[in-house]
């Protein structure tokens, strides 16, 4: 499923710090909302960990709680030194993982 969107510049110069933008479709159910009909609390269901790798190495990660908005957006930077691949992993607390990849040409 086309759940995630990632923006990585296609090209960069060695030593450049690039901006990366990520979005993923997820309700981020906080566990604090009540079902309007039953009055019962809706169980928490969130993405609790986001990890960004560059050529296999984790360079940025983030731990999330129910206070992160639905359809989470996260942007951050990376200092690139050689061409390669980015991997982005969203870990859902139910154990599911969503992945996205992107390539960069560094000159």
């Amino acid at each position: 499923m086309a759940k995630a969107r990632v923006k990585v510049p296609g090209k960069a110069k060695a030593g450049e710090v690039i901006l990366i933008k990520t979005l993923i479709r997820h309700k981020m159910e906080s566990g604090n909302r009540k079902d309007k009909k039953t009055g019962q609390k809706i169980p928490r269901h969130i993405i609790d960990k986001f990890t960004a790798k560059y050529n296999g190495e984790v360079f940025f990660s983030s731990d999330w709680e129910g206070g992160v908005s639905a359809n989470p957006y996260c942007s951050f930077n990376c200092k690139v030194d050689k061409s390669g691949a980015f991997e982005f992993i969203w870990h859902d607390e139910k154990g599911e993982e969503f992945k996205a990849e992107a390539k960069i040409e560094v000159s």
């Binding site: 499923m1 086309a2 759940k3 995630a4 969107r5 990632v6 923006k7 990585v8 510049p9 296609g10 090209k11 960069a12 450049e16 690039i18 933008k21 979005l23 993923i24 479709r25 309700k27 908005s69 639905a70 359809n71 957006y73 992945k99 996205a100 990849e101 992107a102 390539k103 960069i104």
Partner: protein, 278 residues
Amino acid sequence: MTRKGNKSMGAMGGLAALAGAAGLLLSGLLIANQAAAKSKYEVDGRKSGYHYSNPETNEMQDDDFLNPGMLWVQRGIALWSKVDGAAGKSCASCHGDDARKTMRGVFTVYPKLNKKTGKLENIEQRINRCRVENMKAKPWKWESGELLSMTTFIGFLSRGLPMNVKVDGEVKPFFEKGKAEYFKRRGQLDMACKHCHIDNPGKRIRADLLSEGRAGQAFPLYRLKWQKIGSLHRRFRGCNKQVRAKPYKPGAEEYVNLELYVKWRSRGLPVEVPAVRR
């Protein structure tokens, strides 16, 4: 710095590239861009709700990688070529792989008369008619992820084009009924659409700034309150409930007529789908 994005998961060729093409903003230029966008979103004194939003909300709309509505566009791209129904067809089977060419402008002229049934038909209904008649598939439910995604995608394909619904000739009776809905008092508060959106735009109801209700070019849009994309009819229902009136069902004739009037009120304004509003 090269900003030519490369995307994954959404990397579905040309359509995804289109989705990426508008993400070219450098953050330093945002303010200047917003000023430019504001003038773009005003035609002959008619102002889009973009003018009545905070800069942060406008920024979220302007950048395709900040705009969460683009997640629905992306899903619409995936659905476009997905075969469904007994006829073994996808949208692409009839309309071609490159929806950018075949579907550009379509959004701007709906709701339109369905000559066979003699009824006014909006985009959602047109999509479902295609599914039932041509694909032999089940219609998508109103406000379902699929119908919202496809409607948003079709809207996105007309982004920047002026709204241009036909309101004369055979369509005139529907237009007049829609106009009557707009001016009809309803609910315990005994208020019509026009009381907020024609008489009082720019004024506040508590902390909310009333807009001119030029919604036709913006919906389906990502509403911060909903935390998702929603249809124009969902917004109509919300407005009706807030004046303590019983809302119609989504897709009801009354709402399709009202939609035509609202889209006429947006005439000339460039399509913003997926817009972002509070």
